[in-house]
Symmetry: C2
Subunit: 235 residues, 2 copies
DNA sequence: CGGCTCCTTGAGAGGCTTCAATTGACGTGG
DNA sequence: CCACGTCAATTGAAGCCTCTCAAGGAGCCG
């Protein structure tokens, strides 16, 4: 068994833009080989299902481009919006760590590209390269912090502010502003926004109209115009 | 360096009741020695501070008896209730993993006993015994799942039901029922309950009164009487 | 007993939800 | 080309819930 760690040049993530922050590093040469064979880059269209709720957790995913929504269905028919996955994020790992079926479903919001690692390979890599588990734990801890923050913010403070923050958040990945106004297409439906904020869709509509009347943004359908100074002020 | 793993007989957690689910296992003999030297069992009174928000994250804690509250203060003076730590749980680990100061404060709710491991020792153990990191990641993943569940439940469904569930949850550790009614002392103040549920303390009082009128429980101050059949029905 | 903290109760106001109906966009089929 | 179904988004009305502000108990300790 070759226990030498791979050098930067033969990083298992290859030319992926997020190799610098990859969790698959450093790994032994053996693991690198295994990963390169196991890696599977998939190009996905919009609204495509990556895994369903209840599906076996036999893969770890890394989003390299696009946007993915993690949603959790509930028996009463309602669903809650669990998490927005951005490029560079990994997902499906909770299920991998707990060795349980996915309790969320993952679906692309826009055309996306994901790297897929089979849990079998991931487990082998973790065995051979312990620091990978440390990376995974770190990601998990960060996600936990984020989840707690969301929970803390979910009640206090008015929903209008939270809504605006969410929209700004969604704009962060989009290109910069041409003439001082940031224009982009909202990747979430009103129902998604409502679920993410814990509101009713109608309330989202009404809140958006109030924000619009207050001059905080202009929105028509999914087309958003966000004044640039509004983006900076809350950094 | 002795790479042999310790046997069950010389478990680093000694006679602790939670050794069977300890994250410090399996470890090499060296690590075991280090842990046994590093372990520090502390007996704490009620309402005692374990660490403050902003304190350096230089320790990992394991609660072996009692109850601990993790709270997060906010600039506006309000605080939110982040998590309830039960016997067998570990805490302070997020800060350990991220190598960041604690962003919550930990305080005992009742007389408690905690095991303290210095981050320095914990890091050494993780180096020598990779599976410990796996255990830690697993705990983190479980905590993440719990946090998400709380978030999903935090809006939908009325608060009365959530309040009752919280109270039942708090009773779970207490002894069984003598005559069909479960009596115990509530470890949380109204303000804590309110923060945990994202409500105002007044609303908690009113909701409790309504629950009381509906016959779901009897409560006077912190003394609770919970009909036993109510405990079983929602399992 | 005063002072303290926690809990309770009251009243008014505002926000959110639900139900229900309407509008608009889009694709299908006559 | 237009009617139609479907789906998302919007609007309106009524009602409940919770919030805030404020004042009044209850228990505890010096």
């Amino acid at each position: 068994m070759n226990r030498h760690f791979s050098t930067e040049r033969d990083h298992p993530c290859g030319a992926c833009g997020f190799r610098a922050t990859s969790i698959w590093w450093p790994v032994t040469r053996d693991c690198r080989t295994r990963l390169e064979r196991g890696f599977n880059r998939r190009q996905l269209a919009s609204e495509e299902m990556i895994y369903a709720q209840g599906a076996p957790g036999d893969t770890v995913y890394c989003l390299s481009r696009g946007l993915v929504a993690l949603r959790s269905m509930r028996p009463d028919g309602h669903y809650s919006f669990v998490r927005l996955v951005r490029p560079g994020d990994i997902f499906g790992f909770r299920s991998f760590l707990e060795m349980q079926p996915h309790d969320t479903e993952a679906r692309t919001l826009v055309a996306s590209r994901v790297c897929v690692v089979a849990a079998r390979d991931a487990r082998a890599v973790v065995e051979g390269s312990p620091r990978v588990m440390g990376n995974l734990a770190l990601r998990c801890a960060e996600e936990l912090r984020r989840s707690r923050q969301l929970r803390a913010h979910s009640r206090r403070g008015d929903n209008r502010a939270r809504l605006l923050r969410l929209i700004r958040d969604l704009s962060a990945d989009q290109g910069p502003d041409p003439d001082g106004i940031l224009r982009f297409r909202l990747p979430l439906s009103r129902a998604d926004i409502a679920a993410a904020l814990g509101l009713a869709p109608e309330t989202v509509t009404r809140s958006l109209r109030r924000l619009s009347e207050a001059g905080a943004l202009r929105i028509s359908g999914r087309q958003v115009e966000l004044p640039a100074q509004m983006v900076e002020q809350d950094a």
